[in-house]
Amino acid sequence: MKFGVVVFPGTWSDRDCGWVIDQVVGAQLQYLWHKDADLKGSDCVILPGGFAYGDYLRTGAIARFAPVMQEIGEFADRGGLVWGICNGFQILCEAGLLPGALIRNASLEYRCEWTHLAVERTDLAFTSQCAEREVIRVPISHGEGSYFADPAVLSRLEQSGQVVFRYCDSGGRVVPGANPNGSLHNIAGIVNKRGNVLGMMPHPERCAEPELGGADGLKLFRSVAGGALKVLVS
């Protein structure tokens, strides 16, 4: 299984994702430079967290024009796995690979803290190692992570089961008090219709080892890595 981790100027979760892929999961890792229109044969492309190009204009607004993004769009069209985390999610929305947008947190402040997520899809390459309705604990770190979409898009997302993660309390209840940023419907992560492009604001790469306070994020990385194994075996 080959993971490709995209590096824009201003990206900072690249090394954390790389650490988990290489040192914790033991899968193949390569970094993909934003100026190169080459995915180097990656099976799963990760768009990691950070402030690509400084995000001064609007999060992800410049990054979508990077040469590597054209390739990622075509890769996604062919069914390749694309995984946007935090800034990566924002970029995927800007690039039109996922619907909706991430706007300023309702608190108008940056938030770095642990959240609970209800996993609503376990049939995806990204979540196959999660149990049905499992609650996982994953930290967030963003200033603009409030998911927004117009009512039509929102109802389409809900009807076709594209919401993968929802902020919830430790008991799995999706309540306003568990929503850290004002996201509509407590949405923390969504997938495209085909199920191969995932965007999520929380950072699974920050919780893949128990000493960091939790290892639930590892399930997502193992899902992707293990999924490829299955393909190889079959």
């Binding site: 100027p9 201003g10 954390d16 770095c112 930290p139 790469e205 893949a208 960091l212």
Partner: protein
């Protein structure tokens, strides 16, 4: 003769001007005068504190680099060096809180990068006037720190915040950065090798921040807001690119040295870099400096404090390698001069020489200022007998926990990314933060500390307390204290009582650092923290300390972990309430002396704690500091999500009940211990001659001292979490 207005503008005294003319044997021209003005400012030259600072211990087995470089460095094991430094950005933050704090963070990061190290953590020590009046400072500074640190991707893992009237016009913003580098890749900013090229990399040079260093060396007054152009604007994205490019750069051997451009910009960075090599000089051609504003004079270019720039000394002939690295990150780089062996900094504008000054005159020529200190009136003494007895410890506890100086800092640190880097093992909110060193079992503990109220009451003893408390915070994570970086924030030293404070502060720091065997490897002095001759700050010597734990599996945290664990007080309590938070909150007074501090005793208690932690006898540990034993106990409950049940506290005479609950005797910890580990711990404590006493048992959801008070965790949490909501 130059007119006095012009001298004031460059912050030089007539006497200093006379020295310059004498040494040069000619009057300096305007560019030279400006260059000398910034480098001879207190901020750059340390002319007031220099002779005193020599008294600080700066050597030790682990020390790889002491004061004098961009940052200090110590060896921490497995071939790794920790590089760290703390620096003030008080004056800019007073005028323009957001950018002042942001560029403070940016500047200290570049100091660490210049040593070849990758920055892994930031800490911020902050002081403001009381809320809500100082909301403008508080909000701006907290947002600025987050705005810069979050964007650049370095976790902000610790620090402190205090509120006191004395900071209302003069907030304190000290930023500390810690980085990692392989011992054999540690770099030093020495301009070696005649003929090697000087390259300026990163941001283009603009007119921002001209005279910033001079501005930081005078008191603030009504015209200070007109100095806003002297405050720079930060661009964390650019610095992130600069950081990555410098990391790539450190992998090549094309580079001789890297130097940060901070206060006094190009002038100081070139002079300092050359000044570290005997006989070295430099030539700089200002026409080669990439600019972002038109019509800049040589004076502007040499004094600009535009952020996110670095000076790189490159092996002659290998400039294109360096240029390529910066191109990759879309950064500008330009050869602006070279290293010479004439001991002079010569500034050209194309072919014309616009300034030529001896390097040692720039870096070391400022005549030391020998001031006389006079001890002020001692603060009001405290007569414990005159205090009414403690009536309801529970109610007092709630008020203390809700006080702005003790309440939860979560509303602040949740605005900072404290997790990026995948290394944060102990997050903000406890004693010290603890980061793992990936690929090893090593943990690096980091903290900043200073109780400025103690320093106000007794600057010498207060400074000792700052070191002792920092060490206790490190020890509370299971790590052993290793080394210190200090930031001395004081008022105008021209006033004899302030100079006395400076002398006493340095004496106290030196004594405590020697006793606890923690050398000071880097630091910063910020003077003139007063406004228009009034509202001087308390002496605030912030101590940044690092420590190491060999195997982070033995790390300790504050919160209680298991129901039924024994809760113990390590160390003994004195009958004292001097300078305590309790006196301030409950009796509205700041009086007495800080609690007595026996440094030998501190070291013994710390040794016991580390031995017990290593032997796995402790389940949790927390240092007793501001607010005393009961506040520490409540914090153990809050952070562990678990209560505690204790028999009534009946201290033996002469120890009063209020002093037992809320006195701030140093050398004490609250620990929790599994019952089966008790005998071993008792044996260990006896061997170290340290008293331990049983307070109670962890568990439940109340904090109770039987017959004295009983509070639910929810009540306590409500008080503690609401302290900053104004």
């Amino acid at each position: 003769m130059v007119d006095s207005r012009r001298l004031r503008e460059v912050a030089l005294t007539p006497e200093e001007y006379r020295v310059i003319v004498e040494k040069l044997r000619r009057p300096p021209n305007a560019v030279e005068l400006g260059m000398l003005g910034v480098l001879w400012s207190e901020h750059c030259s340390y002319k007031t504190s220099k002779t005193l600072l020599r008294r600080l211990p700066s050597t030790g087995d682990a020390v790889l680099q002491g004061p004098g470089e961009n940052a200090g460095a110590v060896e921490i094991g497995s071939g790794w060096a920790a590089v760290f430094k703390i620096e003030s950005h008080n004056h800019p933050s007073a005028i323009e809180p957001y950018q002042g704090a942001a560029t403070g963070v940016g500047g200290i990061i570049r100091d660490v990068i210049a040593m070849g190290a990758r920055p892994i953590a930031l800490l911020d020590s902050l002081r403001f006037g009381p809320l809500p009046a100082s909301r403008h400072h508080f909000d701006g500074v907290v947002a600025g720190i987050g705005g810069y640190g979050n964007c650049i991707g370095i976790p902000t893992v610790g620090g402190e915040v205090y509120f006191d009237e004395c900071y209302a016009n003069n907030p304190i913003v000290n930023a500390m950065c810690v980085g990692l580098v392989r011992v054999d890749r540690l770099m030093r900013a020495r301009a070696e090798g005649t003929g090697n090229s000087l390259m300026l990399v990163g941001a283009d040079t603009g007119r921002d921040g001209i005279h910033g260093a001079s501005f930081a060396s005078v008191e603030l007054d009504e015209s200070s807001s007109e100095r806003r152009p002297a405050v720079q604007v930060g661009n964390p994205f650019l610095e992130k690119c600069l950081l990555e490019a410098c990391m790539d750069l450190a992998q090549t051997d094309a580079v001789v040295a890297v130097q940060d451009l901070g206060a006094a910009g190009l002038t100081s960075s070139v002079a300092e870099c050359a000044g570290r090599v005997a006989g070295a000089g430099a030539r700089v051609d200002v026409s080669l400096v990439p600019r972002r504003a038109r019509g800049m004079t040589p004076y502007d270019v040499m004094l600009s404090e535009s952020q996110e720039r670095m000076l790189v000394v490159v092996q002659r002939g290998r400039e294109s390698e360096v240029e390529r690295i910066f191109q990759t990150w879309d950064l500008t780089s330009a050869v602006i001069g070279d290293v010479t062996d004439d001991g002079h900094l010569t500034v050209f504008d194309q072919t014309q020489v616009v300034a030529r000054l001896p390097i040692d005159l720039l870096t070391d020529g400022a005549p030391p200022r020998r001031l006389a200190g006079i001890a002020p009136e001692p603060p009001p003494s405290l007569r414990l007998d005159s205090l009414p007895p403690l009536l309801d410890p529970g109610e007092s506890l709630l008020r203390l926990l809700a006080s702005p100086n003790l309440c939860s800092r979560r509303p602040i640190f949740r605005r900072y990314d404290h997790m990026v880097g995948d290394s944060t093992l102990v997050a903000p909110g406890g004693d010290a933060a603890l980061l793992r060193i990936k690929g090893t079992r090593l943990g690096l503990a980091l903290t900043t500390d200073c109780n400025a109220r103690y320093c106000h009451l007794d600057p010498n003893l207060g400074a000792q307390h700052a070191v002792a408390e920092a060490a206790r915070n490190i020890v509370a994570t299971g790590a052993r204290p290793l080394a210190v970086t200090d930031c001395l924030n004081l008022a105008n030293p021209d006033r004899p009582e302030v100079y006395w404070e400076l002398e006493e502060t340095i004496a106290g720091l030196a004594q405590a650092c020697r006793a606890l065997e923690v050398p000071i490897v880097s630091g910063n002095v910020s003077l003139y923290n007063d406004s228009s001759g009034t509202s001087a700050i308390h002496p605030t010597p912030v101590v940044g300390m690092i420590g190491v734990i060999d195997d982070y599996a033995h790390r300790l945290e504050v919160g209680f972990k298991h129901e039924g664990d024994f809760v113990l007080l390590v160390g003994s309590s004195l009958n004292d309430l001097g300078g305590s938070e309790y006196l301030k909150v409950e009796h509205g007074t700041v009086a007495g002396r800080p609690p007595a501090l026996d440094l030998t005793r501190e070291a013994a208690v710390n040794r016991l704690m580390l031995a017990a932690a290593k032997a796995g006898q402790l389940r949790s540990a927390h240092d007793c500091a501001d607010g005393g034993m009961l506040v520490a106990l409540a914090e153990c409950c809050l952070l562990g999500g678990m209560g505690v049940r204790c028999p009534a506290l009946r201290p033996e005479a002469p120890l009063r009940l209020d002093a037992a609950f809320f006195g701030e005797t140093p050398g004490r910890f609250i620990v929790s211990v599994a019952s089966r580990a008790m005998p071993e711990l008792q044996t260990l404590a006896r061997r170290h001659h340290v008293e331990i006493s049983l307070l109670g048992m962890a568990g439940g959801d109340t904090v109770e001292f039987e017959g004295q008070f009983r509070l639910s965790l929810d009540q306590i949490r409500q008080a503690w979490e609401g302290g900053l909501s104004f």
